[in-house]
């Protein structure tokens, strides 16, 4: 290498010097860091070798998660809706079994084992370690447990494992609301906190079980287990106990719920009952229904197919997701709109000839009563459900007033109940029609909206909450399933807060009194459409019947029930609350293809109200104590 000048030579020398110095420093650093590593290894391998050896060498310590016990679910009176029962699983530890085939043969004579069980077992046999128990049959009967236990010493490697599994003692009752747990699927596994669910096999899929999964599940525990070389547990070294899930108390009165479900058993339909004072959901029934216990241990694909493809749609929660035309049940709200917006005086009346016609339109809008109601004011129009009066009122109000006033009752909007899957319903407006269909609004559509037909759709839950808003004269609450939370058995119940919704502004209270009086006449009046239920009534009911058309009738045809297939018959509706002076329960009910609201729907509502109101604790004050008392039993 040639150097051109002294300068570069000097530089070169200088650079080399710097470099060598830096390399030296780097070397010193590396030596120090290596010493740090070595000291850590000395600490692990020499100082603490004993400790780590006990952890590893002959006795291996493994950390096993302990599943927390899932919280229980009760109704408002402390009646158990979801509990945990021990169930027994037959397991085989392969490395303790000398002749697997012989053992399986023997077991087949003691317990029922089918081909699926065997297939699953052989599948797991390949995947799991030889010292792990492999499940062969789950949910052994008591008798089977006894038979295997007696022969246990002749069956080395066969063990019976007890674990808790979810059970719904009320069976089908309220299953839409309570929901069920089922095996965690892969999708859920990705979203879960894997550590907290490491010992958990089941997760809430629908209903309360799903909404309050976090509260019900609890926190996982751990135990450090010492095992010998074969993987058999020798002793537990250390244990962090799991924290059980919290017990939940629902606002539901299961007895009222049972009556609702029983009464709806013949027809499909839904009933929602709400305490108007706070939005507590007292009953929420959707029929038909399914047995949640089927899902806990894995429903067979055949049974699931039967449920999911049944035309009755038992898996469909009609109370939340069924969207029906409200029919005449919106008439009280329409009346209020007319009075409160000064488009109608209390004594205004019209003549109802049984039909109504718009100017420049040939079409006749019919009243349900062919011969008409003759002279009709608002009171008579609500009591006897005159359609023509409301056609006229709707036209006077116009669609903009109607949709904005009805929106205040929460129609067309989710109520915000603590259950998943609620649907919006539909409160039609000019804007809505333009947006979704790109069409202008026609006056004829205003008419039929006035009697709750046409585009308008509501869920039973929305109707019940709107009824509650009438009962409280405008105060509104978010419907709530959950009454309170209990950290552990015997501890006090922490009540959940009620959440208010924006109230309906009142312009004159007497308008409300007027409409409420008319609703009273629906039940108690001489000509009321629901007068059939007033006999022996121990309290007053304000109500409104409704009939929702499932299909349109041709202009000249007449509606003859017998001639129409059951599927196409009208839905029967009833909304109502009681007692009128001190409202405690507001109910909305829809009976699919039930026919008449007065004859079919109203009696069911009365039965539910009877059950709830006549069994209220005195003055309704001691509810809390009562729940506590029942829980302690």
């Amino acid at each position: 290498m040639a150097f051109n000048s002294k300068q570069t030579l000097k530089d070169h020398f200088h650079e080399t010097q710097i470099f060598n110095q830096r390399v030296l420093i780097a070397a010193v650093f590396m030596v120090l860091l290596f010493l740090l590593l070595l000291s850590r290894l000395v600490y692990l391998q020499i100082t603490n070798q004993q400790h780590y050896s006990t952890l590893s060498e002959n006795n291996r310590v493994s950390i096993r998660p302990i599943a927390p016990t899932r919280g229980l679910i009760f109704d408002r009176n402390g009646i158990l809706l979801a509990q945990n029962l021990p169930s027994f699983t037959l397991e085989i530890i392969p490395e303790h079994v000398k002749d697997l085939d012989a053992t399986l043969e023997k077991l087949k004579q003691l317990v029922a084992i089918n081909e699926d069980d065997l297939k699953e077992f052989k599948n797991n046999l390949r995947k799991k370690r030889r010292f792990e128990g492999i499940p062969l049959r789950s949910r052994l009967s008591d008798e089977e447990v006894a038979r295997v236990s007696v022969q246990e010493n002749e069956l080395p490697g066969v063990i019976i494992k007890a674990q808790l599994s979810r059970h719904y003692p009320q069976g089908k009752l309220a299953s839409h609301a309570v929901g069920y747990v089922s095996r965690i699927n892969e999708n859920e596994l990705r979203k879960l906190n894997a550590s907290n669910y490491s010992a958990t096999t089941h997760i809430g899929k629908v209903g309360i079980e799903r909404t309050y999964e976090d509260l019900l599940h609890g926190k996982v525990g751990f135990q450090h287990i010492e095992t010998n070389a074969q993987g058999r547990v020798l002793r537990v070294l250390e244990r962090t106990l799991p924290v059980s899930g919290k017990n939940l108390y629902l606002n539901m009165d299961v007895k009222a719920q049972a009556i609702a479900e029983k009464s709806l058993a013949e027809n499909n339909g839904a009933l929602v009952a709400i305490d108007p004072r706070n939005g507590a959901v007292l009953a929420i029934a959707s029929m038909p229904i399914y047995d949640p216990n089927l899902f806990v241990h894995g429903i067979s694909s055949k049974a699931y197919k039967a449920l999911s493809t049944s035309p009755e749609r038992p898996l469909f929660n009609r109370a939340l997701r069924g969207q029906y035309p409200p029919g005449s049940t919106i008439k009280p709200m329409m009346g209020l709109a007319g009075l409160e917006l000064n488009q109608l005086k209390q004594h205004d009346d019209i003549n109802c000839p049984g039909w109504y016609m718009l100017k420049n339109d040939e079409r006749r809008y019919r009243d349900w009563k062919k011969e008409g109601h003759k002279h009709t004011d608002l009171d008579k129009a609500i009591t006897e459900s005159c359609d023509v009066f409301f056609y006229d009122l709707a036209l006077t109000l116009g669609i903009d007033n109607i949709s904005s006033y009805l929106a205040q009752f929460g129609l067309g909007e989710k109520t915000g109940i603590d259950l998943r899957g609620e649907l919006d319903g539909l409160n039609p407006s000019r804007k809505w029609k333009r947006r979704t269909r790109n069409l202008p609004w026609f006056p004829g559509e205003t008419l039929i909206t006035g009697i709750g037909q046409g585009f308008m759709l509501t869920t039973p839950l929305q109707l019940a909450n709107a009824t509650a808003a009438i009962a409280t004269m405008g105060k509104r609450f978010k419907p709530r399933m959950l009454y309170g939370i209990q950290d552990q058995q015997y501890q006090p119940i922490k009540k959940t807060k009620t959440e208010s919704l924006p109230p309906i502004p009142i312009s004159e209270a007497k308008n409300w009194h007027y409409v409420i009086k008319s609703m009273r006449n629906v039940v108690h009046g001489l000509h009321g459409t629901a007068r059939g239920i007033k006999y022996n009534l121990k309290y007053d009911i304000a109500g409104k019947t409704g009939t929702a058309q499932v299909f349109g009738i041709a202009q000249d045809a007449e509606y003859k029930k017998e001639e129409i297939a059951k599927k196409l018959q009208d839905h029967a509706l009833f909304i109502g609350y009681a007692p009128i002076d001190k409202p405690r329960i507001a109910v909305a009910l829809i009976v699919e293809n039930g026919g008449s609201g007065g004859a079919v729907a109203a009696p069911i509502v009365r039965k539910v109200m009877d059950q709830y109101l006549l069994n209220l604790p005195p003055e309704d004050k001691n509810t809390e104590n009562k729940i506590n008392g029942a829980a302690i039993q």
Binding site: D11, E15, F19, N20, L36, L41, L44, Q45, S56, R60
Partner: protein, 381 residues
């Protein structure tokens, strides 16, 4: 220091060159380095046989990888340092473009975007950068007399920072730290002023909270937290560390013997043939085995430093020094993480861990070291 002695003796040796060495130098092989690499690879194969549950197939695949990596090393060794120097800006530029391409339309694997699919094979541009960044920085700094002036330091810092940030964005924290350190090593070796070093160090410590709160991913924070208290989540992120410390600790002084590691063979230890292979080694060969392994590593690193000190121009010196120190970082970070004093960063134990695309890169770096050593023009006497 003995490396200084050996360097002078090496120098004298070359004056009376033996026929054997002449032959090796014709193929550009540095014997001490070669022996060290062979030893490490052999030890790796031995542990892998045990860690992989005596799978011959796994050994075969590792063998093929090693074979390819050795060929790459020999090929790279044939390239003279001056050629490398010419390529420096090109390699760096192409690498940078590919990094951007990865972020734009790279393939996602294990939650990070690291791969570029070139149709016939998949390629990790960050691996190229592990070599290209030190070459580029060394080339740039060697252009002017040392120690570098402020302007040069700033530009060199940018050269290091841009690929580092691009890779951190993938996100691949381990690799980006390696690349950053390879560039920083060049700067440090070039004679960066002490005052600057210390003030940057202080600044980094001061900005740690910002880094922690805004720049780290949740999983990265979790890993660091786990380091301080692995028991907080014994089945989650703490599991690796708990099991690997048990494996190391239970090995004791003499180890449980080859194929007798219980921790590893009963599936307690995850990633046991890849990133956590050191735990298997420690469990089966004990403290004495570790001493032997570390001795070989130290020998390889020392040889790298000797090559750096002996190199004849600034570029080669800086490059050789940086590559050697980066190799040290690999070893230190991996062992530190497995023994529980550093957070879990996905870095393999070089030449021992199974697979990993990084093996080829590491061997290419050794190829460069060999090239630097064997392309020297002997000073005429």
């Amino acid at each position: 220091m003995n490396w200084q002695n050996s360097s002078t003796s090496g120098f004298q040796e070359e004056n009376r060159i033996s026929t054997g060495r002449r032959l090796l130098y014709r193929f550009h092989i540095d014997l001490p380095l070669w022996i060290g690499i062979m030893l490490l690879s052999a030890m790796g194969m031995v542990v892998l046989y045990s860690a992989g549950d005596q799978s011959v197939e796994l050994l075969n695949r590792q063998f093929v990888r090693l074979f390819i990596a050795f060929i790459v090393m020999l090929a790279v060794a044939q390239i003279s340092p001056s050629t490398l120097k010419h390529w420096a800006p090109w390699m760096f530029g192409i690498g940078l473009l590919m990094l951007i391409a990865v972020l734009a339309f790279g393939e996602v694997g294990k939650g990070a975007q690291r791969w570029l699919n070139l149709g016939f094979f998949r390629f990790q541009p960050s691996e190229l950068m592990k070599i290209a960044v030190p070459i580029m920085t060394a080339w740039y700094l060697a252009e002017a007399p040392l120690p570098p002036r402020t302007m040069r330091i700033i530009i060199a810092t940018i050269i290091v920072l841009v690929p580092t940030l691009l890779i951190a964005k993938q996100p691949d924290l381990g690799t980006s730290l390696l690349i950053a350190s390879s560039g920083i090593f060049v700067l440090l070796l070039a004679g960066l002023g002490w005052r600057l070093i210390i003030s940057v160090f202080v600044l980094m410590i001061a900005s740690a909270p910002v880094f922690w709160n805004y720049l780290l991913h949740d999983y990265q924070r979790q890993r660091i937290m786990t380091l301080f208290n692995p028991e907080s989540d014994p089945l989650g992120s703490g599991y690796h560390i708990i099991q690997s410390t048990i494996a190391i600790g239970s090995g004791g002084i003499y180890g449980k013997g080859w194929l007798n590691g219980t921790q590893s063979h009963l599936d307690f230890l995850p990633e046991r043939s890849t990133d956590f292979v050191f735990a298997v080694f420690s469990e089966e060969f004990g403290f004495l085995g570790i001493l032997l392994l570390l001795a070989v590593y130290i020998a390889v690193i020392s040889r790298g430093l000797v090559i750096a000190v002996n190199a004849q121009d600034t570029f080669s010196r800086l490059l050789a020094g940086s590559l050697t120190l980066t190799f040290f970082v690999y070893v230190f970070v991996n062992i530190g993480m497995v023994s529980g004093i550093l957070p879990v960063v996905g870095l393999p134990l070089p030449l021992i861990s199974y697979g990993g695309t990084s093996m080829v890169t590491i061997m290419a770096a050794f190829g460069i070291l060999m090239s630097i050593q064997t392309h020297r023009k002997l000073v005429s006497t």
